[in-house]
Amino acid sequence: MLAQALTKYGPQLINLFAAALLLLSFAMLAQRRILSLINLFAAQGFVLFLSTMLVAWLTGQHHLYGSAALTLALKVIALPWILHRLIRRLNVKWDVETLINIPTTMLVGIVLVILAFNLALPITMLAGTVTRATLGIALACVLLSFLMMITRSKAVPQVIGFLSMENGLFFAATGAVYGMPMVIEFGVALDVLVGALILGIFIFEIRERFDTVDTRHLERLKERP
């Protein structure tokens, strides 16, 4: 019964998940509180996990179950846990400061989404996968994370932006081609995990040196006139 319903509404469900991902990306862009930002990132990972599971089930691509499990372990559990610990150790619950005010950021975000859809259009036409409509959304998520990294001045939100960008890429891989070969997905996941750890260590070092994790203090190296 459930299986029948899933088969029937599967593609629509995937589109629903895609929409949820995009919504979460915008929510992250608008979020001022750091803890909520981490939770939103975890939620994004969870939606990604659900959609990957569904694609795996719909298409019978068994290796996708593996990557879904990887997503669950890494992006829903491990990374948010590390980030929470980082915040607790740094003992800061500051509000996130943005360099551009949030309404403007949202407007720029909408422009980016339109851009992403236009760019993805010729590719989407060629895709034969049930999930092809999601490629534009995936690209939009990547660009929105990009925007988030640019507009945030604190180190931790920049890291979350970086990780969220990887979520978008992963979703693009599932959407367009039913996931990359497993070896590569493992490699990418390993790189992301190590990268996040290194950035975590750096954040400590930066705070020790400057008593703040505001990257606006990292502006000494520039070309002098």
Binding site: P122, E166, A172, V194, I198, L218, R224
Partner: protein
Amino acid sequence: MSLEMLLLLGSPLAGGAVLALVGHRRYAPELNVAFSTFTLLAAAGLVTRIIADGPVTDLDEQFFVDSLNVFLVALTAFVATTTAIFSRPYMRIERDHGRVSAAGMRLYHSMYQMFSFAMLLVLTTNNLGVMWVAMEAATLTTVLLVALYRTHASLEAAWKYFILCGVGIAQALFGTILVYFAAEKVLGAGAGTLLWTHLDAVKDQLEPTVISIAFVFLLIGYGTKVGLVPLHNWLPDAHAEGPTPVSAVLSGLLLNVALYALVRCKIITDGALERPFASALLMGFGLASVVVGALFLSRQRDIKRMFAYSSIEHMGLVTFAFGMGGPVASFAGLLHMTMHSLTKSAIFFAVGHAAQKAGTQAMDDIRGLIRVNPTVGWGLMLGTVAILGMPPFGVFASEFLILTTAMAHQPWATPILLLSLGIAFASIFGKVQPMVFGDTTAKRLPHSPALIPVFTHLALVLALGLYMPPYLADWYRMAARLIG
């Protein structure tokens, strides 16, 4: 898996593990040299095998070595070894000056080997996905190396490097996904689809629209690591604030390796598209890098920063040459890659000791090197003359070839290139001359500097400028034919 490949990749990997355990001991620098030498021997073995048997694939086609990448493998292993020899006294002096702790030394040695491993993996892998993973691994290891001194400036440089290259390389991953998407239609899904040899075989059947979009993403991604303008912002900071041996391998090797990845993607793109789309993009980015690199040279005050901008300029020149395409330009591009790699690392070796002697990297405070230590002074002077393209050094030959080809095929670009090279000459020479001659401010070093690598590199550049052995020329020609 053949023995040479196993040793080539196994030696630095094992070195990374062993040095992580013993890297702070007194004998660790020697061990670092030993592992690098071992890698170099394996590379030499691989070269002889490729010369004898032609292109080979290995381990179920996961590795692929042809004349294009084997020369880069040899170059990488060679410069990594000489840099290890240079860093032996250099890092000891740094430790005596209190800039690096024992833990820092361990991190340095371990990451140095892991960095070599990552670069060799990028060069030898046949899988575009693995290439991306290895490139990201190379970024991660160098981020740790750049931040080694833990000063304000080095942390800032490393943070900037990580964020910019992380974002950049994410674009390359999107490009790789798109390539997979296009290839899947022809080759079917599976792990074999991203193998470069398979892609190369069916490149004319790949969907042109998708491939052209993919190439743009790949160009932005890998181009960030090559340091192409306007994606170059991380490069001067990372070169100036990291330890000098790291600047030498960043400039001499990592930029080459990133450009190699780009060239592999260009070969596929050219096959899929009728029009010279990739060529035009490469020429545009290359020319912009040459111009901007040259213009920024005269404003520099930090010696390592200045030579970092010079690297941007030279990588731009190579990118431009590959963009022009054709047997002569590709030949010149490959030759220039080699010459730049050897010369620039030699310069950084000399610069490292010069900065240690003066106790600063500010060019205004480095004076009269030739009085205190003539070999460091001459090394810097000769290196500078070589990188500026004076005959009879090899850089002259490659720049001359690039310029003459540009005159024949892209005449509009020639005056721009000549003007930029002229500006670069005036800026660099005018700054290096008083540093080498003039009144001295230098002091003695606690360990004698390693100057053999400097003069080995310069002698090679000079020798290749005077006489190129026919088999080497054939080899470059063969590699150039692959690029097209």
